[in-house]
Symmetry: D2
Subunit: 343 residues, 4 copies
């Protein structure tokens, strides 16, 4: 049973483990003040082309989101997010648990626009309602779609105009930046957004996300919030070492490219079979619509999520590729799919 | 500069890393539902001699504490802890951030007694005050002292009588259980307490704590709380694999024994030099009282915390040993101390 | 300028003030343990025909809602509410501030059905999502619509089946129970719902809402939650005295009937003028759709909210009546409206 | 049975009720935007001699404290309070429920000094601990002691030096300002503290506390916090009308003076009987130490709290006077006490 269920059912890239093994016997400072973590932060600042961003490492995405959002907001301030937003549906109310409402915006493709944001701001008129203060987007979105540089600029201007914080959940940021249609560079982000995180867990790390805080007023005393939320690892070097390895050369992007290439094969070949897709996603998630009997047959050999019922006969499934996805397995799935559909 | 600053400035035991490397290429379920994590939980249940406890793995102690305590308590219920309790002073108000007051009890040796608890319960008489509901202790305490089996029994009876939850922070539980004077077995704990965690980070793991929930009513829907607090690692197998290795044979106890042995040498030799100790601690933390000029000289070659000013001329320092502490380094420190004091 | 803006821009019914004056000089227990409050609770239990409900008095609706909901829920549990629900849009995130997500259900008439609830329960499948636990409805709804006895029964069965708490916000409960189409009795409520409050502020009191807790497991230690949320008034008798007066005879229902009668005149006469209504609301809120120029003219003499744009030329306005609404003013508004529309 | 149990077991001063009756029939804006509330705020600004303070009205002290403190603090910031502080022991963890730790300082007379504050600040050294940010004091304290102008100045300087917010709980502020030894004027407070509230409930109002925010950065969007905490009364005029009446002339101070005079008689006469006092309190709370058999006899005719056991034979009781305390009752208690002690 080969799994296309998600991009975290794999282990870490061997170079990551190797880096951990090699650095194992040094005595270092705890809680992320070690030499590896400091170096990793410096390296990321270089790659981002911004020497003045603050960088902190987290062990997972929900933890990163809840720590940042609760640190950035006052009690009456709220988050604006697409109805598909990860914080809205798949984090067990983690943001609300820190006291903040998330305003849900109905979208079809996972993406927010400045029109959405303006409408949300205008709908909140006085102290009987929460005050929208932070816009949460994911790139790629939970549906695999990505923001163009121009779209992100529009969001950025809109947020500045409305004194809103723009925050990007980059759990799969590598896949977005390496997508074929993408025109956004990693180094564009600090110019356009107030804070974002670069996901490691879903792109070859054992665990780890790098939070980049670009806006000065959001930087103060951030480590207090991390500690309070249980996000400061005692052996924090564990995270620094991994990001150092991922960004020492282009490993991070190589891994994302591999995942995207595997997804491209799936998209191309499934399209060739005449199937439609739930959404046009250029990143490492593919959402083909298949007859239910085909899905049942595929499930005998492959693991994946049935994403959504489309009609009585058909459903969309989600296939996720990763740094570790085997091309042979991809081709086999495509071949099996062809056989089932022709039988 | 050799560090006796704490037991998390070291890496992981080589067998831990090896286990991670060997299990790296399997595709597994995410979020702690993988085969390694399930096996680790089963193994721990065996070692505990209780097949009906629930087991969950966390990436750190503060995260474990805040998730458990907030899951166990209703909004008006409070925690009772010694004034030295880790949750009270060194977790940046993590428990209060989930809405719960911690009632601080003044103690001299880090340990709570049933008298302390009864007094706290009696002082809280009505709905104008919080309701004490959970007793938080650490074993060993933050001062290195440990609870005897009889002391823990007294606490256990007292908590049952007063309908209080008894919770043990076991960040350094290995060291307590392997201390010379200890008469408490790992398998005693489920009989005496409602929940506790077995610390991995400070005893040879890369990261990881195993939460054991013994009381049935505390078990329900615990994974919801973990997810909400950002404590479910996507690649959860990372934690299971480590605990599997630590408890597959007696590695966990071997490592704790080594740390204690190194501390014993320190205690014995420093005592021989005629120094007093701030507290009689039988575990891997030693608190000798030294003249300030001696401390200053020691600091040239060794890293450690100055714990507390004792009088104008003397202070207590804290020396912490770990699985990785080098006996040569220990003897060298003792030798250097002797030289400084005789010079 | 006569106001139809809301039902709390008026003072208290004279009998309420009189009762406060008459009881002013007795020394009584504080914090709602006085003789008046105890009597008021007994009286309400009689009127409800249930001797075993717990009753607590609050100074306002948001306070009542946030205290009850946070007392009833564990951290990972969520509220289901219509998208028009007061807790969702007009309480500045009060529920989220206590840590709980509200799941918004799109409805057209302000009312939830068991189908809505089942769908919400089914959509929340595992620990990566919040757990729906409490259904919040208002009767009448924020759009003035009311639940029939049968509709409430369906909700009640559905909640029992799904182990959900059913909670009714009764800020304007008097108006619902006195509406022409209503077939629900005050004494039906304890049989059908787990907790609800009877609104006083919007029906003749100076301030005050009576929370009725019917479900035994929700009763424990409720006063702790009230105190913690700042909801226990030191001079709590202030609330008891008012409810004693409202329910001593049928004053509460007389006042609601008056408000409804005034709304009936508005409905009947505006209908006669050929206007449509945004929604068919049988209670003390009326939502006529009027041409914008008519609205502008009306605003010269009357105060009310423009509720919603209907098209480029027309909007719905909200007219609210109360115990104090003057029939002369109602007829004058109708007359003025007639004149404007015919001119 | 005459009660000296507290100053909120009485009703409101007749002028207060009269003002409510007289203003009853006007239609006004809701939620504290009515003409009475605006006038009351203006009047208070005049009396305070500061035209630039923001003023908001609350229905009770716990509500005022929890709303202000949670509005003023970021999640990792903590409150410093005396161990007797009302927020620390008698508000059911209301502040912690909003996420903030209160650092308890052991004091003997209820009062904090700048030395206490400096020590607390110095003890909190890094991100593993909360960050002290707000100093909470009560004037008079919970033990009836008061701050001199000079003491408050010292606290004020110390807070400015350490970038701490200074907040005064003035539940009984009238009594402090009217105490014989007092040299602090109401108009001094805006110069020395960042925010404080003037208590109405315990000084003749039906309910109501006036929050004065002096520091500009604490003013922004305060009404959002009030609404979120359930503290905006729909019929907010109820609070404005009362403060207008209390401060229209010197009623507020007359009432406090009466309470203090009654307490002075108690102090003088009990002292004459040779009794000691637990604390030298110049305000409306008196803490005589009496033999237990005397207390038992007194309890037959008077209601009061036994405050603290002093030794096996003696306890301190608390006698509280108010605007409504009857001089005859005071003299009778003194007479009865004399008889009991001489018998």
């Amino acid at each position: 049973m080969y799994s296309f269920k998600n991009d975290y059912s794999e282990g870490a890239h061997p170079r990551i483990l190797n880096a951990l093994v090699e650095s194992n016997f040094a005595q270092v400072e705890g809680y992320g003040k070690d030499i590896y973590t400091l170096k990793a932060a410096d390296l990321l600042r270089q790659k981002l082309g911004h020497s003045d961003v603050d960088i902190h490492f987290f062990s997972g995405g929900t933890q990163a989101n809840l720590t940042a959002l609760s640190a950035f907001l006052r009690p009456h301030e709220a988050v604006i997010a697409a109805n598909t937003g990860h914080v809205l549906v798949h984090e067990t109310g983690a943001i609300e648990a820190t006291g903040h409402k998330i305003i849900s915006i109905e979208v079809s493709d996972g993406k927010l626009t400045s029109e959405h944001i303006k409408a949300a701001v205008e709908a909140h008129t006085d102290e009987h309602m929460v005050k929208p203060k932070l816009v949460y987007i994911s790139n790629p979105t939970e549906l695999g779609s990505i923001y163009t540089k121009d779209e992100l600029k529009q969001l950025s201007y809109c947020c500045k105009d409305n004194r809103l914080i723009l925050y990007v959940d980059g759990a799969r940021l590598g896949s977005a930046l390496c997508a074929k249609d993408n025109d956004l560079a990693l180094s564009d982000l600090p110019n356009l957004v107030d804070a974002f995180y670069i996901g490691g867990t879903k792109n070859g790390a054992l665990l780890g996300e790098a939070m980049i805080i670009c806006c000065d007023t959001l930087k103060t005393e951030f480590r207090f919030h991390m500690k309070q939320k249980g996000a400061l690892l005692a052996k924090g070097k564990l995270l620094g070492i991994q990001f150092l390895e991922l960004f020492r050369d282009d490993l991070y992007f190589e891994l994302a490219n591999h995942a995207n290439n595997m997804a491209d094969i799936l998209r191309r070949e499934i399209d060739r079979l005449g199937c439609k897709f739930l959404i046009d996603s250029p990143s490492n998630q593919v959402f083909p619509i298949l007859p239910n009997y085909v899905i049942a047959r595929l499930q005998e050999k492959y693991d994946f999520y049935i994403w959504e019922k489309v009609d009585d006969d058909k459903s969309a499934i989600r296939l996720v590729t990763s740094w570790a996805t085997n091309e042979t397995a991809v081709l086999q799935l495509v071949g099996d799919l062809q056989k089932i559909m022709k039988s």
